[in-house]
Amino acid sequence: MANGEFASAGADLELVGIQKRFPGFTAIEHLDLKIPAGSFFALLGPSGCGKTTTLRLVAGLEEPTAGRILIGGTDVTNQKSFQRPVNTVFQSYALFPHMTVLENVAFGLRRRRIDDPVAKAHEALRLVELDHLASRRPLQLSGGQQQRVALARAIVNRPALLLLDEPLGALDLKLRRQMQLELKTIQEEVGLTFLHVTHDQEEAMTMADTVAVMNKGRIEQMGAPEELYELPRTAFVANFLGQSNLFTGPVVGSTSEAISVDVAGQKVVVPAARAHRHTGEVTIGVRPEKLSLHLTEPVGDVGRNIMGPGRVIDVSFSGVSTQYLVEVPRIGTLIVFAQNMAFGPVAHEGSEVWMSWNIEHGFGLEDDASVEPRFEADDTTRSIATQKRSSLLTELEGA
């Protein structure tokens, strides 16, 4: 990255065999990742999964225990953060309190001796609509404004790769939606490569071209948001991205088209193309919004799975939809989301109901549901090394 020049376009990022060990625990076991240039990539996962560590490794704020990092084809593993063509929008913004907003934004430009830093800084501030506050101090701004300044400060340097560390966490819902759109627009306009780290799956799915779900230092699944959502590979992804109804049972029949699974006496069919395993004990699932609720036993249909009868044990109204919890004997509790097409719930607490869904909507996992609990454990990692304790805790908060 030569001094005084902007990157001509976004660069691609490649992580090869990355491992990061801290005294006392391993944050990242083995990570291989390739992010194409110009894309908006989201790294999604619960706190403690290693996503922030990954970000810091790319930024150069941490050194990997093993592995290589390549940006635009160049090996930057041994380069310090001030040598890399990477900028970060920090979760805490980290705006320099002793400088004005303008000086903050111009900081990187000045360090690289780029011409006319003031004009360029104003331009960046105009992009985030904060030019009128250029001479204020960061502490005089609201949280949302600080976040936009932090964004401007990073973007003004036209880095080949822009890293965003949960930047929208502190914003209220409306502002967050606004910023999500703005970020996406800026990214497409300027053509930079964005790597966005977040625990908010809705945010990741809205903004990113590609999403990678990370868990315990490994990437569990990577792909387009729809792909991850409709065809999760592991129980963790199925439960982390939205909610799932998962069933475990032996495969009792399989054809080239579909597999049949025995779920506590009821037969559930899953398309073979959507099932990762075709023999033995498998875990299959279906999304709650794909289920239809019936008050009487539905007529058999070769294209649909039917499950029931069950008893409604909870009805939760949430504006757009209503969530039903249905207890099916010997199977467990199912979640059903029904869009509120009419006033009032379809079924009341205590009603006997049946559920059905299109066979095409089911999916089969690669691993076992029994490995992952239904409601994922939300603890922060306990055994954190003392020397990284405080910094990691602040990074890993927010789940």
């Binding site: 930024a59 150069g60 953060s81 001030f82 900028n87 980290a94 002793h98 360090r111």
Partner: protein
């Protein structure tokens, strides 16, 4: 300011809104009255004394009230070099103390954050010199740097010092003594500020292409300025008025007398109270000017 180092809580909870109550007066009055009586009144006394004239038919040491402002002229004329010397030595000692203490405070406050017990123990070592009498500390250096000492004889043997040169009794020795004695005063405020430094600012600076030295110059130093100012004030002010280091029985010589020595001599030996008082007022005025500049910029809330 400096003494937040002694507070034990790391987070300050949301302060309760201050109440208005007659209890406040009850709590304040005894202490404030005491200070008025034994701090303000003596200063006024000093001012009045500085204008006194020798009594008509009195002995040495007998004065009566007058408005003899010529006292000030006499005193400045007689002791001009001492006044300049005091501020010069104090300034030198302050700068040296800053250069010495900053890296030390940085290490304890920033680098050693992961080991709070180590931090505490190092701080104890920093203030440990306070536990040995100020006079004995200075005397120890006098012995250690006297002509016959191991240090000086070694330096001469290694040709690092001229054979007829000496250390004690020179301005350098006085400045050395002043610096040593005030290092804790400089280190503690620096430590307090550096301990609170949010390292994420340094990371942001590095992320934005600043070399480590640039990070230090453009981010660390400005953000540690409150500590630097506090330490500088806490060092310069007492150093200017010190007279132990410069005393001939300690590290000083015939040409290193500071304003404090002169005040002591005039007051206790010559019994020339007006002269001593005038010098004290001059010293105090310079200090008040410095303090008022500081207060004007930072307000009075931060003082304590």
């Amino acid at each position: 300011m400096a003494f937040a180092a002694f507070s034990t809580s790391t987070t300050t909870p949301e302060p309760a809104p201050r109440r208005k109550s007659p209890v406040a007066l009850l709590l304040l009055l005894p202490g404030i009255l005491y200070l008025v009586l034994f701090f303000l009144a003596p200063l006024v006394s000093l001012l009045l004394t500085s204008f006194q004239a020798p009594s008509e038919f009195g002995d040495v040491g007998q004065y009566s009230y007058a408005f003899r402002w010529e006292n000030y002229v006499d005193v400045v004329a007689a002791y001009w070099p001492h006044i300049m010397r005091s501020f010069g030595y104090a300034l030198a000692a302050t700068v040296l103390a800053l250069l010495f203490s900053y890296p030390l405070a940085y290490f304890i406050g920033v680098k050693a954050r992961a080991w709070p017990l180590l931090q505490s123990l190092m701080l104890v070592l920093v203030i440990a010199p306070f536990f040995i009498s100020f006079l004995l500390r200075t005397l120890a250096w006098k012995q250690l740097l006297s002509d016959e000492s191991f240090v000086i004889t070694s330096l001469k043997a290694l040709s690092l010092m001229a054979p007829d040169a000496y250390f004690t009794g020179t301005p350098l020795a006085v400045i050395f003594g002043l610096t040593y004695n005030f290092i804790p005063f400089m280190t503690l405020p620096l430590y307090t500020t550096l301990e609170r430094l949010d390292l994420r600012y340094l990371e942001a600076g590095s992320d934005l292409y600043a070399h480590p030295f640039e990070v230090f110059r453009k981010i660390t130093i400005p953000l540690s300025m409150p500590g630097i100012v506090a330490g500088t004030l806490l060092t310069f002010i007492p150093a200017a008025g010190d007279y132990i280091n410069a005393s001939r029985d300690f590290l000083g010589g015939p040409d290193t007398q500071m304003i404090g020595n002169v005040i002591e001599a005039n007051f206790l030996v010559l019994q020339n109270y007006p002269a001593a008082a005038a010098l004290s007022i001059i010293l105090m005025s310079v200090i008040l000017v410095i303090v008022s500049i500081y207060v004007k910029r930072s307000g009075t809330e931060e003082l304590l």
